[in-house]
Symmetry: C3
Amino acid sequence: VTAYDELRALVQRYARAADDRDVPALEALFHPDAEIDGVRGPMTIAAWLDTMRTPRGDGYSMHMLGDPLITLDEGAGTATLDTYGVVYQPERTLGMRYVDDVVLTDGRWLIRHRVSRAVWSR
Amino acid sequence: VTAYDELRALVQRYARAADDRDVPALEALFHPDAEIDGVRGPMTIAAWLDTMRTPRGDGYSMHMLGDPLITLDEGAGTATLDTYGVVYQPERTLGMRYVDDVVLTDGRWLIRHRVSRAVWSR
Amino acid sequence: VTAYDELRALVQRYARAADDRDVPALEALFHPDAEIDGVRGPMTIAAWLDTMRTPRGDGYSMHMLGDPLITLDEGAGTATLDTYGVVYQPERTLGMRYVDDVVLTDGRWLIRHRVSRAVWSR
C-alpha cells in the first residue's frame, strides 16, 4: 500500500468515525499533540474529542468527503491534505474544507494540525 | 495499476452503469453468485438485475460515490469496500452507504456480496 | 507518485483553482491548445479562461468532484478521465459530468479536451 492510499484511507476513516461518534476511533487518527482549528475556534485534540462525546440530539450525520489533494514529502514523513466535504445533518447541510498537516508517527499517518472551515451552509 | 486503483475503478464503473441503466455493464461488475442486500431486501444478482431492466419513469439518476475505504487482502484475493454515496434523482436525494465484499475472479475484481443502506432521504 | 495519483490530483487542482477564480492556476492545468466543450458551447482554452476572469457577482462556488474513472495508456502518455461533480453556488446546485482527454506534456498531465455537461440543476 502506498502513502497516497494510506492518506486517502485516513480521510475516509475520519468520516466514518465522526458519523458513528466513535471517539476512540477518532482519537486513533490524530497525533496526541494535535490542534484543531474549526468552527468552534482553536482547540486541543483532547478538548475537541470531548465535544464529540456528547450524543447528538438530532440524529445522523454523514460526512461525504472528496478525494484529498495530497502534497506528500515522503522522506520527511509529512503530508498536507486539502479535502472538500459535504456534511449532511437532519437540520442542515454544510460545505466544508479541511486542510490537514499529517505526520508519519510509528508507522501510521496521523493528523497533527487541522483547519476546518464551512464554505456554505443550507 | 494497483489493486487499490482497480477497486476504485470498480466503484466508479458501478455508478456509471447504474446511471446509464446499462444492465450488461452492471452484470460485468458482479460475481455470478453475488447477493445484494439493499432497500428491497436480500436478492440474487439475477433478481436485482431484473429490477434494473425496467426503464425509469422519472428520468435521470446520478450516483455521486465517494472514495471507498478499502480493506485489502491481496494474498487472498479479497477486499472489503465501504463507500458513501449520494444518489440524485428528480424527486428525491438519498444518502447511501454500500459495504461490498469483493473477490478477484479470473483477474477481475467483482462484487460478491453487497449491503446497501439509505442513511437519509430528502 | 503514480500516474493514477497525478491524474486524481489534476482533478482536485481544477476544483480549487475554479473555486478560487485563480486563472493562472487554471491555465497551468490545460494544454495550450485545449478545447472546452461546456455549457456555453465549444471554446478555446483562451476564450474559456476569459470567462473565468470575470469576478463572480454571486459569491462562492464549490466544485465537489468525485473520484475520476481513469482510462490510462501510460505508454502513449494519454488518459481519459470521466468525473462526476456537484457544483454548489449560492443560487443553484449543478450535477456535472466531465470527460477529459489528458496528455502527458513535458512531464505534466494536462487537459487537452474537455466535455462538460450538466446532468441536473436545482
